[in-house]
């Protein structure tokens, strides 16, 4: 009793001190998981739940299973992705057809839904609405859709029927771009959705299997396409598309030779991706693909952000994975941090 009282007073005191020392009032901590990196772990395949790993911004501390420990429940089978709004994070459990909204800094669950989800994949928040890509049934290429929810309450709003295999989704202005990777099949489209009417305004053809999307500082949409894999029986190779978001016309495209690139990211005016097991850097103004890599390492997923390269390693898919963090400047391995099972996504809080 006494100890807890002392601790409580110390805590109050420290909060007061921090508040007093700082003239910016927003410096009050918003939660345990503010300022750091979040890793979405898909979880054991078949059964079991996905989990979220938190890594502090200085990489010194990390915690696995933060959703579970805060909320004492599981997210669901195969945590596919996390999307963010100002205050919230949206977790998608693919196999469980479940969408959970949490406070992005405390990870306290606010609301969840299982309505109108069928193989949900990725999501984006725009103008108070949450847009979720859904593959629908694996055997049906005509039932794929974007389900739309109120971003605050997760009340179902409507669905937008789209081309098959909608995967990554990104928003700029009042427009949403959806990459149709193809689901269990292979597709080569980008849907342009007008958020005012919630309808598909245009479909842009790109290379086979568009796997990642970024928007650069000049508002160009970059689409990295992996091409069809060898085991598809009709192998094609990667392409990088640059699309003008004001006209929705393809500005240029570059072809990879004999490879399947993935994981495009954009930071500090440069593009990054992985190809042939190595990491490449490219200027947005470059008219050709880079010939030399910057790092001879690769990951299940790759994210380059603010001076660091994050590579996730899923090991044998049945044990704890890890994330390797390289300094972008020196290319030195700064840290290796153990994660949950199958770390699939890297996000920043």
């Amino acid at each position: 009793m006494k100890i807890s009282k002392i601790l409580l007073s110390l805590f109050t005191l420290s909060v007061l001190l921090i508040a007093c020392n700082d003239d910016d009032e927003s410096a009050l901590p918003k939660g345990n998981y503010e300022n750091g990196i979040l890793i979405s772990n898909e979880g054991p395949y078949g059964s079991g739940s996905g989990a979220v790993t938190y890594i502090s911004a200085d990489f010194n501390t990390s915690q696995n299973g933060i959703y579970n420990s805060v909320n004492n429940e599981e997210i669901g089978n195969v945590l596919q992705s996390i999307a963010f709004s100002e205050e919230s994070a949206y977790l998608i459990a693919n196999n469980s057809n479940r969408l959970v909204k949490v406070n992005r800094y405390t990870f306290e669950k606010e609301v969840s839904t299982i309505d109108n989800l069928s193989n949900p994949r990725y999501s984006v928040v725009l103008n108070g609405k949450l847009y979720v890509t859904n593959w629908g049934d694996s055997t049906n290429n005509n039932d794929d859709f974007i389900s739309v929810y109120d971003a605050e309450t997760l009340t179902y709003d409507s669905s937008i029927s789209v081309e098959f295999g909608p995967e990554k989704i990104i928003a700029i202005g009042n427009v949403i771009y959806v990459a149709h990777k193809g689901g269990w099949d292979y597709n080569n489209k980008i849907s342009v959705i007008d958020s005012n009417s919630n309808s598909v305004a245009k479909t842009i053809e790109v290379g086979d299997v568009p796997n990642s999307l970024v928007i650069d500082s000049s508002n160009y949409l970059w689409v990295l396409c992996g091409g069809k894999p060898a085991y598809s029986g009709s192998e094609t190779f990667g392409t990088l598309y640059k699309i003008n978001t004001s006209t929705n016309v393809v500005d240029s495209s570059l072809d990879f030779v004999g490879s399947h690139p993935s994981d495009l990211s954009f930071t500090n005016s440069k593009l990054y991706f992985q190809n042939n097991g190595e990491i490449y850097q490219m200027s947005t103004s470059s008219s050709s693909l880079p010939s030399a890599s910057i790092l001879a390492d690769s990951g299940y997923s790759v994210m380059v952000n603010n001076g660091y390269i994050y590579l996730t390693d899923v090991k044998d898919y049945a044990s704890s994975g890890e994330v390797r963090i390289y300094n972008l400047e020196s290319k030195k391995l700064e840290n290796t941090i153990s994660t949950g099972i199958i770390p699939g996504g890297v996000y920043f809080n």
């Binding site: 079991g48 669901g76 479940r98």
Partner: protein, 618 residues
């Protein structure tokens, strides 16, 4: 289907007629197949599950094995896919043997323990330890034998068992047996169905999408041809339909459906005269599965296989205490899936077995086998087994063997991913056991050691030419060691009959490279039963303890399935017990303590549930 219903109706009428002509005899049938198996298994532990044990867990083969044998059953929710881990080995290292024929799937190398109708077979033997010499691929941890008995006894018997249980579970079995000096006929039909929508304890959820039904037929005919020869025919047909239940936290996401069809036929001709015996076996087996990702749609994945087998067994009795046997086998397999075109595989095998008895003290089996397969090289294998009886009622047993598990069709031929360079997994094992046996007490304690190499594992980037792509490679090595302890006690005190059974197994199974425990292998597993009967009343209690299992290869504590205890209680009363008719009624409470437990993460197992049954023999 209609044809089968007609046939069963016909048989039903036919036997009804017989039943009126003759009186029912209740014979304590000794299993001939078990005797034969034991003769070839000196030094091995064999546990027989009689029909009275089978009846106690008549609704699920997984439950039957789980509550009565040392085998760990990995069941994806009650009624879902279910596989065995015997002595810590994986699902394809337990061979299921139907009337002497290995029936593990060609495509997956495994047998699904929820794709059987339990009570149709007359008895089940569980043999611990390697047995590839007699039972081929996958007989590594042990073998499970489903036996149909055809005996030349004077007998006409009908048996009708029907039960009703919680979650709309209905089971019906009808079995007809006819026997004379020269002919034996057996026919059985079984139909089981359940909504299987049990509550998930501790959650406001149900086991959604878990319904199942299955229909199966068994037919056996034996005919003595001459004084020295007999012909036997066995046929079994199974048609199962299951939904695959969902997982926490949203079971309503589950939408899958699975159908499987098995058809097995075996013709066995036996000729014996003086010191020679010749047996020719012809088998034809087909399997087919259909997997529907969306149960409401017709589109599905499938796999099917056909297998033809010719076996010639020659036995020469050298002396009263020794004999030599030769097994020659030709096996032809054709398998395909929606992903792969039909592929043929041929295999020729030759085994020689020498059995020797040194008085009452020592009995010995020595066996060797060589296979020639059209796809890959199979190692030369051997087995040795011996039993020594130094003191009355006690024995020491010892065995050692090399066994193998061949790559499955999926491993070899999966488009663009399969690996044609795979070789069979092989394992070397040894066991030492001590036992004590009287009419009242049976006790066996065994220590075993299994070393497996070239284990096939699907590995991302397994093929350096295909980075990031999952391919199967011969990579893993494992060491399994442990203890199996069994005790069975039958005691009669003033017409009160008591029986007690206990299986305990201690298993250490580790990956040799990482030195981590293998996943889904409990270190401690114990099950036991206590039975009581007096006159027409009987009662039993069954208990299962399953220790903690790791689910990740690096043994992370966050991803374990905790230990659990489950108990079942049953009572039976024979309301009529004459030489012509027996009518018994029974009731059973499964999971009587309403324990919340899981075998697989995210998949709660059934809460407390009830079953009432009638068993009518006439």
């Amino acid at each position: 289907m209609v044809r089968y219903i007609l046939v069963s109706f016909f048989v039903l009428c036919w036997c009804k007629g017989f039943a009126q002509m003759d009186s029912v005899q209740n014979l304590n049938v000794v299993s001939l197949q078990t005797i034969k198996l034991k003769k070839h298994s000196k030094g091995y532990k064999i546990q027989s599950l009689s029909d009275s044990i089978i009846l106690k867990n008549s609704t699920s083969f997984s439950s039957l094995i789980r509550f009565n044998t040392p085998i760990y059953i990995k069941e994806y929710g009650a009624g879902g896919t279910s596989s065995a881990s015997f002595r810590g080995t994986n699902a394809s290292s337990t061979a299921v043997v139907w009337n002497g024929i290995n029936i593990n799937s060609i495509n997956s190398g495994q047998t699904d323990f929820n794709s059987f109708s339990v009570i149709l077979n007359d008895n089940i033997d569980v043999r611990s330890g390697g047995g590839s010499i007699e039972f081929g691929s996958g007989a590594i941890g042990g073998t499970i034998h489903l036996n149909d008995e055809l005996a030349f006894n004077k007998l006409i018997e009908n048996q009708l068992i029907t039960s009703v249980g919680s979650f709309d579970t209905y089971n019906t079995l009808y079995k007809f047996s006819f026997g004379s000096d020269k002919t034996a006929v057996k026919f059985g039909v079984s139909y089981n169905q359940s909504e299987n929508d049990y509550d998930w304890l501790g959650y406001d959820l149900k086991n959604e999408n878990g319904a199942y039904n299955n229909l199966s037929f068994n037919l056996g005919v034996a005919q003595k041809l001459t004084k020295y020869s007999a012909l036997r025919f066995y046929s079994s047909k199974y048609n199962g339909h299951r939904e695959f239940s969902g997982t926490l936290p949203n079971p309503t996401a589950a939408n899958e459906k699975y159908k499987d069809f098995n058809f097995r036929n075996l013709l066995d001709f036996n000729f014996f005269k003086n010191n020679f015996s010749h047996t020719v076996k012809l088998a034809y087996l087909t399997q087919k599965y259909q997997y529907f990702q969306n149960k409401n749609l017709e589109t599905h994945n499938y796999g099917k296989s056909k297998e033809g087998l010719i076996k010639y067994i020659f036995n020469y009795k050298i002396s009263a205490s020794s004999n030599i046997e030769s097994y020659s086998e030709f096996d032809f397999v054709q398998g395909s899936t929606d992903q792969m075109v039909a592929r043929n595989r041929k295999q020729i095998s030759q085994s020689v077995i020498y059995n020797k008895q040194f008085g009452a003290l020592v009995s010995l089996n020595t066996k060797i086998r060589k296979d020639w397969n059209s796809d890959y090289k199979i190692p030369f294998i051997f087995a040795l087994g011996a039993e020594v009886k130094p003191v009355r009622n006690t024995y020491a047993r010892i065995n050692g063997s090399k066994n193998y598990r061949v790559p499955t069709y999926n491993d070899l031929y999966w488009p663009a991913l399969g690996n044609l360079n795979l070789i069979p997994e092989s394992s070397l094992q040894g066991e030492f056991g001590l036992g004590y046996k009287t009419n009242e007490v049976k006790l066996d304690l065994g220590f075993y050691y299994i070393e497996a190499k070239n284990k096939i594992v699907w590995t991302p980037g397994g093929d350096p030419d295909k980075p990031g792509i999952w391919t199967p490679i011969n990579v893993a090595e494992a060491v399994n060691k442990g203890v199996e302890f069994t005790i069975a006690v039958n005691k009669e005190i003033n017409k009160h009959l008591f029986n007690f059974n206990l299986n305990y197994s201690y298993t250490i199974a580790k990956d040799k490279r990482s030195n981590n425990y293998l996943t889904y292998v409990p270190k401690h597993l114990a099950n036991g039963s206590f039975g009581y009967s007096r006159k027409n009343f009987s009662a039993f209690y069954q208990h299962l303890f399953t220790g903690k299992v790791y689910t990740t290869t690096d043994n992370v504590e966050n991803y374990t399935v905790p230990y659990f205890n489950v108990g079942n209680l049953g009572v039976n009363y024979k309301i009529m017990n004459t030489s012509k008719q027996i009518v018994a009624v029974g009731a059973k409470v499964n999971n009587i303590f309403n324990e919340s437990y899981k075998v697989i993460p995210g998949r709660p197992m059934p809460n407390r549930n009830f079953n009432i049954n009638i068993n009518y023999k006439f």
